[in-house]
Amino acid sequence: MSSQLIFFMLAALSILSALFVVFSKNPIYNVLWLIVCFFSIAGHYVMLNAQFLAVVHIIVYAGAIMVLMLFTVMLLNLNKESEPHKSLMLKGASVITGGMMLLVLLAAMRSTELGAYAAPAVTDIGYVQKVGMKLFTDFLLPFEMTAVLFLGAMVGAVVLAKKEVN
C-alpha cells in the first residue's frame, strides 16, 4: 500500500502548497509555493507513467514560467507591503464560493463510475517516442498552429513591452 501512501502524500503536498499559494501574503512566497506545487504534480505525472511529460513540466513551468514570474516580481519589486489589502469579507466570500464550486462540480460528477485500471497495461504511453509519434502524426496541424500562436504572443509581448522609438 506504499503507492497509496505516496499518492496521498503527493496529493496532500500539492493541495497544501496550492493553499499556501492562495493565502500567503508575500509574492515571493507565492511563487515558491507554486513551484513546490508544480513539483508535486510532476510527481503525480511520474506515477501515471508520464515520465517525459513530467520532465517537460518541470522544465517549462518551474524552469521557464515561474522564473519569468519571479523576474517580474523582482522587476516590479512586489513585496508584502505592496500587497493590496483584502477585506475579511472578501476572503470569506471567496473561500465559500470556491468551496461551493468544488461541491457543485463534485455533485455534478458524483455518480461517475470510472473503470479502474484497463488491463493489459500499456505502460509505455508516456515514453518520448510514443508522445513524439502522436505529436507529429495526428497532432501535426495543432503543433504547427502553436507556432502561429507563439508568434502572435511574441509579437504581442514586443508590442506591449518595447520602448517607443521616437
Partner: protein, 107 residues
C-alpha cells in the same frame, strides 16, 4: 510496478484531487487582488487540468491526453508572456498591480 500503483487507487481520486486543485485556483482568483498572483492561480488551475488529462490518458492508455497537455503548456507559456507584458505596461502607467485600481471603465 506501475500496474500495482494504478490498480492500487481508483481514478476518481485523481478526478477529485484535480477538482480540488481547480477549485483552489478559482478561490485564489477570487480572493487575490494582485494581478500577478491571480496569474499564478490561473496557472494552478491549468495544472489541475493537466493532471486530470494525464490521469485520464494513463488509465485509458491513450497518449492523446498527454499530447494535449503539451498544448496547454504552450498556451500557458504564451499567456504568461502576454500577461506579464500587459502587467508591466500597466505598471509603467499606474505603478501598481492591484486590479481594484483598474476600474476606470465602468457602467
Amino acid at each position: 510496478m506501475e500496474q500495482q500503483i494504478l490498480q492500487a487507487h481508483p481514478q476518481n481520486w485523481y478526478l477529485v484531487l484535480s477538482t480540488i486543485l481547480f477549485s483552489i485556483g478559482v478561490m485564489g482568483v477570487l480572493m487575490r487582488r494582485n494581478a500577478l498572483i491571480i496569474l499564478m492561480c490561473i496557472e494552478l488551475m491549468l495544472n489541475s487540468v493537466n493532471l486530470l488529462l494525464v490521469s485520464f490518458s494513463a488509465y485509458a492508455g491513450n497518449t492523446d491526453g498527454q499530447v494535449f497537455v503539451f498544448f496547454i503548456m504552450v498556451v500557458a507559456a504564451a499567456e504568461v508572456a502576454v500577461g506579464l507584458a500587459l502587467l508591466v505596461s500597466i505598471y509603467r502607467n499606474i505603478a501598481t498591480t492591484d486590479i481594484d485600481v483598474l476600474s476606470k471603465l465602468k457602467w
